[in-house]
């Protein structure tokens, strides 16, 4: 009896170990394949802007700039909308509307990145170009809106990223809101609070989880590849302008990795991948901790437990 029990535990545990091994393996392989570039450029790799494969000069500043800038812009647009959706679905809308709305927002998450990209190229980019052409010259003086109207560029990338991360943020925020005890809201109403004031109290109560949800969206946006590659213009530069074509870490890998023949070139690209891996890892760990902490604080939720709470319990 005992030995079969141990055998079962070890057998299934080995499969679980594969999962752990993959995560460790990704970090190790990326580090191993980028040693050349790490040794040659050191931290300068992230501080310089020259990307010249022919001369063997590699500086990744424009890529990390493009990734952070596009992701932050996307969050700026997506966060209020996603929270609005989460509040509407979980607190405001009639019960009959709840399921269909959840289904529709999940549909937004089910559409593959490449399809967003296709739509971006042929529908969104022309629309953005029209908007840029229409921008009055006085506004063009502002660095944020300077440059010729290409259509492709930072604005198109941020818009498409925003649409893509909205469903992620709103679904996690919805789950987080469900862990807020209803006594919290009832107390607010009993004190004569308006709807807005009661929901604000609930949102405040759930703030760590909400921050976690937004960070999870940030992690998604950082690593998003295809749709961004297709609309951002793929031109390495550090610019504040929303209209300027720029480049991201994921895009440069997608575009150049198969063409890179020189070992140093390959290593430089892998180093970008390594840093992307480390950043998304850190953000995911942090956001999970926030969400788990939130779920743990309400160990006996009145509403049904979330997946995260179940996992943490």
């Amino acid at each position: 009896m005992r030995s079969s029990e141990a055998g079962f535990r070890i057998g299934t545990g080995l499969f679980g170990a594969v999962l752990v091994l993959i995560v460790v393996g990704i970090g190790f392989e990326l580090w191993r394949q980028s040693m050349l570039s790490i040794a040659k450029f050191g931290l300068n790799f992230w501080a310089t802007s020259t990307w010249d494969p022919v001369a063997g000069q590699f500086g990744a500043l424009p890529f990390i700039w493009g990734t952070l800038y596009s992701s932050l812009l996307a969050l700026l647009i997506a966060t209020p909308i996603a929270l609005g959706i989460a509040v509407f679905i979980s607190e405001l809308c009639p019960a009959a509307l709840q399921q269909p709305l959840v289904f529709l927002t999940e549909l937004l998450a089910a559409i593959p990145s490449i399809v967003y990209g296709l739509w971006g190229i042929f529908v969104l980019v022309p629309a953005v170009r029209a908007l840029e052409t229409w921008t009055p010259p006085s506004l063009k003086q502002v660095p944020l809106f300077s440059g010729p109207p290409f259509g492709i560029g930072m604005l198109a990338a941020a818009l498409i990223l925003a649409v893509m991360v909205i469903p992620f943020i709103s679904s996690v925020a919805r789950e987080v809101l469900r862990t807020v005890p209803s006594a919290q809201r009832e107390a607010a109403y009993a004190l004569g609070a308006t709807r807005f004031e009661a929901i604000r109290a609930a949102l405040f109560y759930a703030r760590t989880g909400i921050v976690g949800a937004v960070m999870l969206g940030f992690g998604r946006a950082l690593g998003e590849t295809m749709a961004v590659t297709m609309v951002i213009g793929n031109s390495p530069r550090v610019s504040l302008s929303l209209f300027a074509p720029q480049y991201t870490m994921a895009s440069v890998i997608a575009n150049e990795f198969t063409e890179a023949a020189d070992p140093l070139y390959v290593n430089a690209l892998v180093e970008i991948g390594l840093v992307l891996f480390v950043i998304t890892l850190a953000i995911n760990v942090l956001s999970r901790l926030l969400i788990w902490g939130m779920a743990n604080a309400n160990r006996r939720p009145i509403a049904p437990a979330t997946d995260e709470a179940k996992a943490a319990a």
Binding site: S4, E5, G7, F8, R9, G11, T12, G13, F15, G16, A17, V18, L19, V20, I22, G25, I26, E29, I81, L83, G84, I85, V87, F88, L92, T105, E106, A110, I111, P112, I114, V115, Y116, G117, L118, W119, I121, V123, V163, I166, T194, R195, F196, E197, I199, G223, T225, M226, M230, I253, A254, F257, V270, G273, F277, T280, N284, R288, K310, A311
Partner: protein, 282 residues
Amino acid sequence: MNRVARRKFLSQLFVAFCALSVLLALVPLAFILFYLVSRGIQALNVSFFTQMPRPVGESGGGMANAIVGTLILVGIGAIAGVPVGIMSGVYMSEYAGSRFAALIRFAADTLNGVPSIVVGMFAYAVAVLPFKQFSALAGGLALAIMMIPIMARTTEELLLLVPSTMREGALALGATRARAVFTVVLPAALPGVITGVMLALARIAGETAPLLFTSFNNQFFSTKLTQPISSLTVQLYTYAISPYEDWHRQAWAGALTLVTLVLLCSVLARLATRRLERMHVR
């Protein structure tokens, strides 16, 4: 305006904002689906499914090789990913309190957040570089890695849905833990596990980035696992960024096919979950 009126107004403004944000999210969805269907239908015909890509300048042709390629890649991903995912899920639910289960859960959640392009790089390093050859197997490996964390977490959650009395009953009758899991608990959760598989398949079928430098692309019909293979997504990418009108039409048709495939998987998955919930939730 007095204080109460102002508070009420603010509250109404807030409700309006929330409703508006739902609309704001649904507008792009409607736009995408509209363009997908209207442009896709125009280009979709029988030859799209049965013929090979034609060179630039020749109109017509199809994506037969890419459709078969996607099915093969997803198949390899499923064969490699499903067992690992399910078994890790079993471990996490059976030994839920243990440290190692927490570690696996942590690894699964982290892996789920790793950008797909990075997974592609990893698959390139372990399955392309040593053999100096892009291959369907390398692409399948990348997809399997994407699939494992999804499968593991859904299996874990679904096994926890099965009433513990069923497991305890089997154990009380003298069944070993393995027997209890494989003949009682897993079968009870089977519709749910199938849901998990379908959802994971839907997710990986639409992946492009991990395939770019693993399975690469192939203009010819190939089913060889050690050779580069075409896929709907990579083909779609090539066509979308090309300057040719005819290829753009093909890309829309490919996108419509892909989304139909993905949504079909998701809907089937949802139906299966409904059944499971009806079975177990009292």
